[in-house]
């Protein structure tokens, strides 16, 4: 039941927030914070109390905790939830970033507070559902469902247009991109289910059963593409990234934090959990294309980031660049690279969240995100620029931060598989340094536009930022707890890739 509660708590908390609005603006905020902390505490409790190493050969199941109930027997659909090291890490991240999102919008959101927190918590509930569901129907349901509150978050509380792009336009774009690609995934899921039905005569959406569906090469290829496109839109992979900069630029801070910190990770999670293990051979054949796309993403994101005037758009493009590394790591398929992907996902969640929170705080003080209006802020705001330096350093992958660990492991792990990709992508690291220093230079150094000091960080903001910095540095120095937790899950993925490699290698 713990798993069910993990999903239900945010949804119930959201409803409470909505209703609590009648007791004033503070009530929903505290309830939302409490909800997320409760969620976090539950996950951490699970973390401490469980063993995530792979079970012995022939054990009943590979999951640490499992829960299932019949739902739609007509198609063999179950409410089937399960958790392993990877999903646990992701859910912990969701809880943590959820709490941060609540804290950072404490003063930013002053209108319709209850409804705002309803949407915020429902997004998080949906994300937790995505990480827990291992029935493909249920997974798809959560995958699509979390778009709706996100849409509202951007459309109703977003920032109105920079250069004519409105927040509603951005929200709609986000929704249509992800929903349409999601339907492709639904087709792929159904294709898989009918293929299984054809082979065994029974309908099932269960992950474990579908894993060994016999597929012809072309079928597997098309179905894999259906999954890949859905995940690629959300990651985002470059030709499909159009929604991301707009959505980030117009979203409220909490929305950006969730979007960059968690929603993008659902895509990487989906690839690791579904796309690779369900279609190992097809994925193996597709890997060079995917890695090339990742490479393009690294450069495209970094180069476009350098040209942005809007601070949040800049950070959004850096996300594209970082996700390029994630994509390369996933399709490299070695254990080291996969573990690096996990570390990089966690690290990027923290650094991107930190940068978005900072830009939100700057916006609260300056009422602009345009970097041409900034400059020389180092002397004008107490505290904030120092934090910015830390997150920027993390973003460019400075040793000692978690990002370095992740990127290093991905590149190290991928080198044996695709040396040239790694060599070229390492040039991207230099571009990362360029855009990161751009941020520092243009926002915090240079001649100040005015001399009047701006409000410094208050206690809420300081504690929040300190928390993130501590995590970035901690996992930069001692990433082992992360790696231990995800090791089992990553070994499973790696084995399926390896077997596929052996099979295709044997065929040739």
């Amino acid at each position: 039941m713990t798993l069910v509660w993990l999903i239900l708590i945010p949804f119930i908390g959201g409803l409470l927030c909505w209703q609590a609005e009648r007791f004033g603006d503070q009530a929903p905020r505290w309830i939302a914070l409490g909800t997320m902390l409760l969620e976090l505490a539950m996950v951490l409790g699970l973390w401490v109390g469980s063993d995530f190493s792979l079970p012995a050969e022939g054990a009943a199941s590979a999951w640490t905790l499992e829960w299932q109930a019949d739902w739609i027997p007509r198609f063999g659909i179950q409410v089937h939830l399960a958790i392993d090291g990877l999903s646990l890490l992701m859910i912990a991240l969701t809880g943590l970033l959820g709490a941060m999102a609540v804290i950072c919008s404490w003063k930013e959101i002053v209108q319709r507070v209850g409804f705002f927190h309803l949407n915020l918590l429902w997004i998080l509930g949906g994300v937790v559902g995505v990480f827990l569901a291992i029935d493909l129907f249920l997974f798809f349901l959560f995958w699509e469902m979390m778009l709706v509150p996100m849409y509202f978050l951007i459309a109703l509380w977003g920032h109105s247009g920079s250069r004519g792009s409105s927040r509603i336009g951005a929200a709609t774009k986000f929704f249509i991109y992800t929903q349409a690609s999601g339907l492709l995934m639904l087709i792929a899921i159904l294709g898989l289910v009918f293929a299984h039905h054809g082979a065994t005569g029974e309908y099932t959406f269960a992950y474990a059963d579908l894993l060994d569906t016999p597929l012809s090469e072309t079928t597997a290829w098309w179905l894999m593409l259906g999954f890949f496109v859905a995940f690629a839109v959300k990651l985002p992979v470059v030709p499909l990234h159009g929604w991301l900069p707009d959505a980030h630029a117009q979203a409220p801070t909490a929305g950006s934090v969730d979007l960059a910190g968690i929603l993008l990770k659902t895509a990487a999670y989906g690839m690791l959990r579904f796309a690779l293990p369900l279609f190992p051979e097809a994925s193996q054949a597709f890997a060079p294309v995917a890695m090339t796309l990742g490479l393009i993403g690294i450069f495209y994101g970094a180069i476009l980031a350098c040209g942005q005037q809007d601070l949040k758009r800049l950070i959004a493009y850096t996300s594209i660049s970082h996700m390029g590394f994630v994509l390369i790591g996933i399709y490299a398929g070695t254990e080291l690279a996969l573990q690096g992907v996990v570390a990089l996902m966690v690290a990027h969640a923290f650094s991107a969240a930190g940068l978005f929170i900072l830009s939100g705080q700057l916006y609260e003080r300056l009422h602009t995100r345009d970097m041409r209006e900034m400059g020389g802020l180092w002397g004008r705001i107490r505290g904030l620029p120092g934090f910015a330096l830390v997150f920027v350093a993390a973003s460019l992958g400075l040793p000692g931060t978690a990002n370095f660990v992740g990127e290093f492991m991905v590149m190290f792990g991928a080198f044996g598989v695709a040396p040239w990709i790694v060599v070229i992508s390492s040039v991207g690291l230099i571009l990362a340094a360029v855009y990161s220093l751009f941020i520092m230079q243009r926002v915090y150094y240079g001649p100040p536009r005015e001399e009047t000091p701006l409000a410094g960080l208050d206690r809420r903001e300081t504690v929040l930022l300190f928390g993130i910095v501590a995590l970035v540095v901690f996992f930069g120095i001692y990433p082992q707890p992360l790696l231990d937790t995800s090791a089992g899950a990553m070994q499973v993925v790696q084995q399926s890739v390896q077997q596929a490699g052996a099979m295709t290698g044997g065929a040739q």
């Binding site: 349901l141 959560f142 699509e144 929200a171 929704f175 339907l183 159904l190």
Partner: protein, 485 residues
């Protein structure tokens, strides 16, 4: 009375009861005009008919004369028709309170149309098909033009009448051609004859004309041109009936035709129908994109939804019948929710001379901050129309895609995906309008006591059902599966 006759009478009793209700309401009006009494009598009559229908389920398949058959499919259709009619009655009562002219006759028309729907879902002979369609459409002319002092309503009624007449002409001509070649009007015998006569050009022309006539009623492209105007102009309750009961009944008779008669074995028929389905989805969705009038927008969206439904007919195997059932249930519920909200916001009727209902989209701006629960209903309906998970609409869309994937009809599946993606744009636009804070040109609003009225309760109930069936569709699936059995 012989046993067979008793059985037949029992089986057809819902239809008889609805017709009796027409007479009772008419007598009651003749005796004393009382709006509420008429509405209550109508509702009671419909409920009794519904109960009779449900109890009749134990009888199994009963042939009522050689032109009507009462089986699971017709009972399924009867439930949908009667339920939507009931919802229309509750909505109409509130709506008509503001109408100065005679109010009671609306219920007579509504009941007659419902009787037509019941005949149609049981039809297995061209005569009953024709009779049902006309009995369904004729009262609708009157209902659509009921508030005839409004130009919009009058236009809508007349437009529907003229174009319906054209469709009827097609229908009759088609039947005549079929009869001329085969010498029979019975669906099953026609089916046999079709397979023996093969591709006689007159036969094909007849079948084609028959389809054109039905496609007009279902507003399938290219016979959809009347839809937006009629939806926009007609009074709320009449449009609601048109969008739900009338379309369901016609679609079910089409299903029956396909099952027995027009099971075209030649591929080009399927390809042609598939092409029409894709065009219908795309045209409906594309034309809805720029609409600023909610009722027009819903009209176009209904075109698109029948395009999706056609997928099941094109495939016509495997999950097809089940898909039709599921999709019709979800479509009816969702449409009742959406039109219910429009009608409630427009209730009670206020004469304007132009278009009486609150249909321009800007009326709904910021509705959430004035009527949160009503807006929740509308939001749920929009999400369900868009096919977002955890609403009933998603289950419908899931079935449509499943049926397409199962039959490997990738073009159709692609059309559904593309159509849904386009559709999202305008559903989202409606949704976000409801929540925007800036006050719009607010002229109309639902009355404060909307939720305590029968119409409001029905609408809330419908929205709850949409959510519940989205969360736990198993009862619905079991029911439809058993019907499709």
């Amino acid at each position: 009375m012989s046993h067979a006759t008793t059985m037949a009478l029992l089986a057809i009793s819902p239809l008889i009861l609805v017709c009796l209700t027409v007479i009772v309401v008419m007598l009651s009006i003749a005796w004393q005009r009382n709006h509420t009494l008429s509405a209550i009598l109508t509702a009671v009559g419909l409920n009794v008919a519904l109960l009779a229908l449900l109890f009749g389920w134990t009888l199994g398949t009963v042939d009522v004369t050689s032109v009507l058959v009462v089986d699971d499919l017709s009972r399924f259709g009867g439930v949908l028709v009667l339920m939507s009619t009931l919802a229309c009655v509750t909505l109409a009562h509130h709506y008509l309170e503001g109408y100065e002219g005679p109010r009671d006759e609306f219920y007579l028309l509504l009941l007659s149309a419902a009787a037509g729907g019941l005949v149609l879902v049981s039809a297995r002979h061209m005569t009953t098909l024709f009779f049902g369609i006309e009995l369904l459409s004729m009262p609708l002319f009157g209902m659509l033009a009921y508030t005839f002092r409004d130009r919009g309503a009058l236009e809508s009624g007349i437009k529907y009448m003229v174009l319906s007449a054209a469709a009827t002409a097609f229908l009759l001509f088609g039947m005549a051609l079929l009869y001329a070649i085969t010498g029979t009007l019975d669906f099953a015998e026609l089916g046999e004859a079709l397979s023996t006569y093969g591709s006689d050009p007159w036969l094909l022309a007849g079948a084609g004309m028959l389809l054109v006539g039905l496609a007009f009623k279902l507003s399938i492209v290219p016979f959809h041109l009347w839809t937006p105007d009629v939806y926009q102009g007609g009074p709320g309750p009449a449009t609601t009936f048109l969008a739900t009961a009338s379309k369901v009944a016609v679609f079910l008779v089409l299903v029956r035709l396909f099952q027995s008669t027009l099971a075209f074995h030649e591929n080009w028929w399927h390809d042609l129908l598939g092409f029409i389905a894709v065009v219908t989805m795309l045209v409906g969705n594309l034309l809805a994109l720029t609409q600023n009038d909610l009722k027009r927008l819903l009209g176009y969206s209904s075109i698109a939804h029948f395009g999706y439904l056609l997928v099941a007919l094109v495939v016509n195997e495997g999950l097809a019948v089940e898909t039709v059932g599921i999709y019709l249930v979800t479509y009816v519920l969702t449409t009742l929710g959406a039109f219910g909200v429009v009608t409630l916001v427009s209730s009670p009727y206020v004469a304007t001379g132009g278009t009486a209902d609150a249909s321009p989209l800007h009326h709904y701006r910021g509705l959430f901050w004035r009527r949160p629960y009503l807006t929740a209903v509308m939001t749920v309906s929009m999400l369900s129309l868009a096919g977002i998970p955890f609403t009933a609409g998603f289950i419908g869309k899931f079935y449509i895609i499943a049926v397409g994937v199962e039959a490997h009809r990738w073009w159709l599946v692609g059309g559904v995906v593309l159509g849904s993606a386009i559709g999202l744009y305008y559903y989202l636009r409606v949704m976000v309008t409801l929540f925007l804070h800036e006050p719009g040109m607010q002229r109309r609003d639902a009355t404060h006591d909307w939720a305590e009225r029968a119409g409001g309760m029905v609408v809330l109930g419908v929205a709850t059902l949409v959510i519940l069936l989205g969360l736990y569709p198993t009862p619905m699936i079991n029911w439809v599966n058993w019907v499709a059995g």
